[in-house]
Symmetry: C2
Subunit: 340 residues, 2 copies
């Protein structure tokens, strides 16, 4: 076995060089990997957007479920999604890895390839990071930097009573995918029906909505925005809390995918909680004055994703979910809670 | 016990609010903790400096040796040190924590207090982060952002043959401190002699040399700079590699502290490897034309730390260490190597 196939022989600096060799020149990168700090040039007039996420094996992902290439993609995607939610342009990222002994160099190469493919998809340059060994599982920590003109940045706090509540794409796919993985007890290699494949891929390989987020911000049509990582109820709840408002969500308006529809027909009860409270779809939830509806539908479609109005911002606090007849769905039916 | 004393009751968002409540307004911070991404305004004309470090329990620190307040300070200090090494001004930081079950809220409060005290010492604002549970040890991931005018940023690659090699402060203290902790097998609370206390504090509570780094950069007197995290031999080696040069270091010129001197007298052999290859002093190593010597001594003293010339940059590659009589010290006597 040639020495470069062995991570211990390669060492920390060898691994960094190996990753750096695959990094292409990025927008505004003056000095990338290899000095004490990266040097980048922000676009004059723009402000800096910074977000960070840490993913731990056994907490956020399982190596048996998540192929390394897709795990690399997702670890950057969840960060890019935060820049999208501000209406920003993702630019630069750092990647820190704590690597357990049983992670081969081949595994790390595949992970890095996935990370850099997601970076290329969204115009992001890898500019630095840190690597070390881990005595337990794989730990991934990513920081994403983006930029945008101050007047275009969309915050959570801007929602106003009377605004419509919108979501991009479809909801609940990732949560449904997770339940399928949990039921099947499968591994990365398990062959699956098409419907399952789609739902599981939404969990394992989410697409951050950068084009939609940026287009919406630049349109001036929206008042608040957030990415849906913890489920619509929790994430719209953050908007409501910061804006000092509430909301009414129409359950029948919530967009679900054909795969979700098809898979749900195999269940005895419609999995409403996946749609309302399922995490990790990484769609955008946003609010906008009712008059902007037509334009929003147009510009999001042009950005490659449909957007759907799903409710109304209210001046009274609290988020309620109603059926098409106006009757309220009890909070305990909204779904499970995280972080307990 | 009131619920806010229990981390599980507090939850992720409760913990974030608790940390955010102690964060003061920072330079250029437009939107801090609480949105999808932080928004900051870089000083017009300046470029962005980015660095990140991850610290794992059992790999980089032991909770039994490191009081949480000092661990909080150090986890930011090692990042600030990277900005100092570029001659930059540290501005903003993110903090991600994966928290094991046996970490109490009191522990985290103390950690955060330490982190924010280091932030206050160096004008850094905490602008975001991530928290989650850990199934194994405590994981700390920090990203630091700084800024500086493009023409003042000091890179590793600028060293020129004939330049003098300099270091700030004293070398080997942290490595000596580590060896004392290893020998003593003590804990945070073990009472110690003054000399040991100093050496151990250099390991557990390092001081990043921001004032010296920035002053040197703004003076235009230095050609290359790095912070000494892996020991002078390794870190000057990075400068040499990137600049395509070598160096000769005079062992008798290397600055050691009175505490180091005193503690070394209790050993049968002078611990040369601590000085040459001991990590974690977080002093600066830099290079400068010989003619700048007097001015460098003056301006670093004004910045609060002494700087000492310790060798000469050579055009031939490789770093050699010589005694005052010019004889070479064999590489195996330089010390231990890391990352094996």
């Amino acid at each position: 076995m040639p020495p470069e196939n062995n991570l211990a022989d390669l060492g920390e600096f060898g691994l960094i060089s190996r990753i750096a060799a695959n990094v292409t020149i990025g927008h505004g990168v003056i000095t990338g990997i290899g000095d004490d700090a990266a040097v980048t040039a922000i676009t004059p007039g723009m402000q800096l957007l910074t977000s960070t996420d840490m993913l731990l094996e056994g907490v956020h992902f399982r190596r048996s479920w998540h192929a390394p290439y897709l795990l690399g993609r997702k670890s950057l995607a969840v960060n890019i999604s935060d820049i999208a939610a501000m209406g920003g342009i993702p630019r630069w990222a750092t990647l820190s890895l704590a690597i357990p002994k049983d992670c081969s160099l081949e595994y790390l190469d595949s992970f890095t390839k996935g990370f850099l493919s997601m970076a290329a998809d969204h115009g992001v340059a890898l500019i630095g990071g840190d690597t070390c060994r881990s005595n337990s599982g794989l730990v991934i920590s990513v920081t994403i930097l983006g930029e945008q003109l101050p007047e275009l940045i969309i915050r959570r706090s801007g929602a106003r009573p009377g605004d419509e509540i919108w979501v991009t794409g479809t909801l609940g796919d990732a949560a449904f995918g997770l339940s399928l993985l949990e039921q099947e007890g499968g591994t990365v290699e398990t062959p699956r029906r098409d419907v399952s494949t789609y739902l599981i891929s939404r969990l394992l390989d989410p697409t951050p909505r950068t084009a939609a987020g940026r287009t919406l911000a630049e349109s001036g049509l929206v008042t608040a925005m957030i990415d849906i990582s913890d489920g619509l109820m929790a994430d719209f709840g953050h908007i409501a809390e910061l804006a000092g408002v509430g909301g009414t969500i129409q359950v029948n308006a919530l967009p679900i995918s054909p795969a979700f529809q098809s898979a749900s027909q195999r269940l005895s009860v419609f999995p409403c909680s996946f749609v309302l409270s399922g995490g990790e779809d990484y769609e955008l939830a946003f609010t906008a004055p009712v008059d902007n509806r037509k334009k929003i539908i147009e510009i999001t479609k042009k950005s490659g994703i449909d957007a759907t109005p799903v409710g109304i911002v209210t001046s009274s606090p609290g988020v309620t979910v109603i059926r098409s007849d106006g009757s309220e769905i009890a909070p305990q039916a909204h779904g499970f809670t995280h972080f307990t």
